[in-house]
């Protein structure tokens, strides 16, 4: 409801503003032409047959009169006195730039042009948008004071008007006549061909390509407009005056209705009931015009035209109400052009049916021009949008292709890396198995053999055990992957016999997964070797009863309650020194801080690192 009110308000405002501009437009003043006399006044009288029915009065030109009769033809006479141009062998021209609706002139009582309203010829004249010129031989003229009667006639429905006129130099006036003819009739023809072509093109668009109903309706509106323009280009196509008027008013109404449909489709407003209802009203109105008695035809036409003017206002309302359905620029242009057309039509209606002497008749011929502009705008606007959409699509396609290519490239690289990794992995497994079944199995077998024999070398046995433990550590570092906590757990399992043999209690505090930055299997192996060395030292040399192993994210520590040692002295004497030196060297290589604190109450080995 609000959008309808807003639309109605905006449309009415636009129409009123444009109407104001039209009212303020002055009638174009008669322009002086060299060698010609300009008449700004004339004697005027209504005609009854061939004679004035009232005393002539002098009126200023342009002068417009409404038909006083209800039926038949309405005739008036304008009279001026003019001078001959040149000598007796010359020609004097009589030139009427603008008048309505049919003309016949007589000079000094001699008729110079035929009377279009001769009995039996019931037809529309509508000469209102054409100039008129008549050439009179100077042989027929006095040097001065020649009487020119301009008889104008109109059907009931038409009005009568005459603008300032010229007499004089035939060459100059003929040139002016030709120019005006080209502008007036030429424009009507150009309009006709443009709307015809646009209509055909839009229907073709609709048929071949888009199936967008908006194109169908705009195309039909163009064809309806062509029917209206035809009326200005080829007079009297339908001999019967009433039928012809009915035909082109229906075409005008259908043009408005098609435009309404176009707006509804383009802005996705829908409104099927409004459209169907108005179409039915137009059809009913047309039937009514055909059936009306002749006396009621003129008010019938007025009502019919008022009807489609209201429909035009409805169309403007929809345009404003659903303006979010399109770009602001498109809305502004369409609203401006349709608003202008509506205003021009309304001003015509007012000057024809309300205040006769109100607006220049010629303004109506601008309506098709405005309409053609709107159609061209729609075509070019849609074309531009299609092009930009197409470019956007191409751009997005291109970027998608680039993306996919990069993805493909990446997955190729990943696959290559994977197969390489897999090859490395398989090779590693093979070496592991060799170590495992080969050397490992042999060493274990040797130990088992030695354990069955009395008095075997304990140094040799310890060495073999150490070698086996180190191998276990190597295999773990490869198999337990990146988890130092798991490797510590495995180390515990392997050292269990050692703890049992030395009756050592273990306090196990692996609180978190130690994360050595940038570590891989070999770094983890080095770290575990340090830890293993610290534990075996505590078991073998410190006579510890309890060993506490603690791990956090940033540290691993091994603490015992053994008798401790003096690191300096040990370093000098060298017995465990090899182990300590090795631990220090390994810690340095890893970039890990190694702290060894020893006292008679125990030893504590701390490995720590920063994130």
């Amino acid at each position: 409801m609000r959008r309808i009110l807003a639309g109605l308000g905006a449309s009415a405002l636009l129409v009123v503003v444009l109407m104001g501009l039209i009212v303020l437009l002055p009638d174009p003043p008669g322009r002086d032409i060299d060698g010609a006399t300009l008449f700004r006044t004339a004697a005027f009288c209504p005609l009854e047959g061939e004679t004035c029915s009232a005393a002539p009065e002098v009126v200023p030109l342009p002068h417009r009169v409404r038909s006083p009769v209800q039926e038949g033809i309405h005739k008036v006479r304008f009279s001026v006195e003019f001078d001959r141009f040149g000598e007796t062998d010359g020609i004097t021209a009589i030139y009427l730039p603008e008048f309505s609706d049919a003309v016949s002139i007589s000079v000094n009582g001699w008729r110079q042009t035929p009377e279009p309203w001769a009995p039996g010829a019931e037809r529309a004249f509508h000469h209102w948008h054409r100039p008129f010129i008549a050439m009179v031989s100077n042989a027929l003229l006095e040097p001065q004071g020649n009487r020119l009667n301009i008889d104008l006639a109109a059907q009931v429905y038409q009005g009568i008007s005459l603008s300032p006129l010229y007499t004089g130099d035939a060459a100059a006036l003929d040139l002016a006549y030709q120019k005006l003819m080209i502008v007036r009739v030429g424009m009507a023809r150009i309009n006709l061909s443009l709307v015809g072509l646009a209509g055909g093109a839009l229907l073709l668009f609709w048929l071949i390509h888009y199936r967008d109903p908006a194109y169908l309706w705009l195309g039909l509106a163009s064809l309806a407009s062509a029917a209206v323009c035809y009326h200005w280009v080829y007079p009297n196509v339908i001999a019967n005056y009433r039928h012809w008027i009915t035909f082109w008013n229906t075409a005008a109404a259908l043009q408005v209705w098609c435009l309404l449909s176009f707006v509804c489709m383009r802005l996705h407003a829908g409104l099927p009931r409004l459209r169907l209802g108005s179409l039915i009203a137009i059809a009913a109105g047309t039937v009514g015009l055909i059936l009306l008695p002749t006396t009621l035809f003129s008010p019938g036409i007025a009502a019919y035209q008022l009807g489609f003017l209201v429909l035009a206002l409805v169309m403007l309302t929809v345009l404003v109400g659903w303006r979010n359905g399109t770009q602001p620029l498109n809305f502004a242009v369409l609203f401006g052009l349709y608003g202008l057309s509506t205003t021009l039509a309304l001003s015509q209606w007012i000057s024809r049916h309300l205040w006769f002497d109100w607006a220049p008749t010629l303004l109506a011929s601008i309506i098709p021009v405005v309409f053609v502009l709107s159609v061209l705008w729609v075509i070019f606007y849609e074309l531009g949008r299609s092009i930009s959409r197409y470019e956007d699509l191409t751009a997005s396609l291109q970027s998608t292709i680039d993306e996919k290519t990069a993805e493909l490239q990446m997955s190729y690289e990943r696959l290559a890396a994977q197969s390489k990794l897999q090859a490395v992995d398989e090779e590693r497994q093979r070496i592991l198995l060799d170590l495992h079944d080969g050397i490992g199995g042999q060493l274990v077998n040797m130990l088992a053999y030695m354990s069955t024999r009395a008095g075997t070398d304990s140094v040799l046995e310890t060495a073999i055990e150490d070698a086996l433990r180190d191998m276990g550590l190597m295999i773990d570092s490869l198999e337990a992957g990146d988890s130092i906590a798991t490797q510590l757990g495995l180390l515990r399992g392997r050292l269990e016999p050692l703890f049992k043999a030395h009756r050592v209690d273990l306090v196990w505090r692996i609180r978190a997964e130690p994360g050595l930055p940038g570590s891989g299997p070999s770094q983890n192996l080095t770290l575990l070797r340090i830890v293993q060395e610290a534990i075996t030292n505590a078991v073998r040399h410190a006579q510890a009863r309890t060993i506490t192993i603690t791990a956090t994210e940033r540290s691993i520590s091994v603490a015992d309650d053994g008798h401790g040692f003096d690191p300096e002295e040990v370093g000098r004497r060298g017995r465990h020194g090899i182990g300590l030196t090795g631990m220090k060297r390994r810690a340095r290589a890893l970039g890990v801080t190694l702290d060894i604190a020893s006292s008679p109450a125990g030893t504590r080995v701390d490995l720590s690192w920063s994130a």
Partner: protein
């Protein structure tokens, strides 16, 4: 040296009467001897035979119908996994464990999927060997950090409220227990830390074994997603 002539036809009765019979399949002579001695430490266990290769093992397996098989994997004429599969299909109660030098992951897991209840290290203390065998016969499942880590890696994160209930996912508690085992904690320590009984820890471990067998295709999925195929 050997306390009994275990390399001959055993004289044990059918499984269930008297001490449990154990078949040892190991090609390294001294290692085999050591394990045989370790088994005999327990009065509840007796060695019914020691095979050095697969062919010999088949014969002893069929003849003695052992309650327990202790097998190496790399044998001169084949893989010990075949014995494990046979034990799983046997029409009498027969459990298996693998003898391994270091418990190399790939083959140990293969054996576990075939039905072995974990592995013994060749360096394990003598009393540990018999203890673990008895534990398995009693219905328990030995577990060590390597297997726990493997289970955690292949079975993924624990079931949460949002994941659909399924047989092959670990529960929160099972995940906790496995994580602690992977870090080297013993069952007793885990029971204390989680405030549950040692028996309950054992039940959780048994359940994870069952889930592993249910979801033998999980590993395929895990492997596939690791190399980026999924």
């Amino acid at each position: 040296m050997s306390p009994r002539g275990f390399d001959t036809d055993g004289k044990d009765g059918p499984a269930g009467s008297g001490p449990h019979s154990v078949l040892i399949v190991e090609d390294q002579e001294h290692t085999a001897t050591r394990f045989a001695r370790a088994v005999e430490v327990s009065p509840e266990l007796t060695v019914c035979g020691v095979a050095r290769d697969l062919a010999h093992a088949w014969m002893l397996f069929e003849t003695h119908r052992p309650r327990f098989v202790l097998t190496d994997l790399g044998l001169p004429d084949g893989s010990g996994v075949e014995i494990i599969l046979a034990a799983a299909r046997a029409d009498w109660a027969c459990d298996c464990m693998v003898i391994s030098v270091f418990g190399d992951r790939q083959r140990a897991m293969e054996a576990i999927r075939a039905g072995a209840r974990g592995y013994l290290l060749k360096s394990d203390p003598v009393e540990e060997v018999s203890r673990q065998i008895l534990e398995v016969i009693g219905g328990g499942s030995p577990m060590n950090p390597k297997i726990a880590r493997y289970l955690l890696d292949t079975m993924g994160p624990a079931v949460t409220d949002t994941t659909p209930p399924g047989g092959e996912r670990l529960t929160q508690r099972e995940h906790e227990v496995l994580s602690l085992i992977a870090r080297g904690y013993k069952r007793r320590e885990i029971a204390e830390m989680l405030n549950i009984s040692v028996g309950t820890v054992g039940i959780h471990i048994n359940n994870t074994y069952k889930k592993l067998k249910v979801g033998t295709n999980i590993e395929a999925v895990a492997r596939a997603s690791k190399i980026g195929l999924l």
